[in-house]
């Protein structure tokens, strides 16, 4: 029988402070060196822990960076109701863009997504720790818009409902990421306004 907390009953407990120091050092090194030149030896030295301690907790660079970045996503769970679909979209866009203000996220997120191309476990980890948490904000805005009557209620076919939600999530998140990472131009209020307007107009007619 597996206990609820699987393996921590006896012995010396793992230092929670070491965890924070390692993840912080990882983000710091990520900004200074970038993904390619980041080494676990360097991270261990910055964090003030032994390299072996690092390997006891993470399997490698990929997993470490995912956790270091995921920690920055943990706080934001929802978004205040801004009164209209357009305002809510604008809020979500600015929220996403705010996350990409962290240099560590800009550098690390793309790198781990690239690595996830041929590492299914890593992709799952990214999805659970980061992507699904962002998607929740989009689903929240969608539900609010439905309750306001701005967009039609859920389709009788749940598959179609999920399909539409996936589309709008890819559009919002993808646009912001592309703007910041590829076009290398910051997301300002004006851009968020125009994107929100574009989507509201598109959504208002998409079901007729």
């Amino acid at each position: 029988m597996e206990p609820p907390t699987p393996h921590k009953r006896t012995g010396r407990p793992r230092s929670a402070e070491a965890d924070r120091a390692i993840l912080g050092a990882t983000r710091e090194a990520l900004v200074e060196l970038g993904w390619g030149k980041l080494t676990l030896s360097d991270v261990a030295a910055r964090a003030g822990v032994a390299k072996t301690t690092l390997y006891r907790r993470w399997a490698g660079k990929n997993e470490l960076v995912v956790d270091a970045i995921a920690a920055l996503f943990e706080e934001q769970l929802d978004l205040p109701d801004l009164g209209s679909l357009q305002a809510d979209i604008r809020g979500v866009v600015l929220r996403f863009a705010g996350l990409l203000d962290h240099p560590a996220i800009r550098t690390g997120l793309m790198a781990v997504v690239a690595e996830a191309t041929h590492d299914d476990a890593l992709r799952l980890r990214i999805r659970e720790a980061i992507v699904d948490r962002q998607k929740h904000l989009v689903l929240l805005g969608r539900a609010r818009a439905q309750s306001r009557g701005e967009i039609p209620p859920d389709d009788t076919d749940p598959a179609l409902t999920a399909r539409d939600a996936d589309l709008i999530f890819d559009v919002i998140a993808g646009s912001v990421v592309h703007r910041v990472m590829v076009s290398a131009t910051p997301v300002d209020d004006d851009w968020a306004d125009r994107l929100a307007l574009l989507l509201v107009l598109g959504l208002s007619g998409v079901r007729r």
Copy 2:
């Protein structure tokens, strides 16, 4: 006085076949090993050239991968006129998605974009070799839609014109990339249809 071809007058010329072999081997290694485990030693061995030859032409892994990927973008210069803005958008979306069908592009493009976060020269290289070439397709579709009267002609302020074009490019390219890379779901005809419809509806009302 700099000659038009700066440095190639005398001496043994560089093997064009070696170039092709190296870039091909890079793409092959990229698919098999991924960005992180790709080594220049391995690429040289696959290409059948000496490692030193590789270093004589590229400064490092970043530059090599950018060129290896950029070669896959060189053929597609434009898109047939499909008769309507919606059809053209659909065509561009499917074209972008088709590029991401190359496993080498999926794996390498994100990685070099991540590295470009702290390497301005690399970012410029990516922009010239890849991004601007894609943007051209969007601008082409925009011009066609204007000649059809589907969207208003260029604003008197060229800055506003460029701003709107940048927005729609970020939305199209970003949505496709996010769909394929993050959501890890292929772009099929149905998805392209729905995205194109969303954008056409949004664009039809955005200037009122």
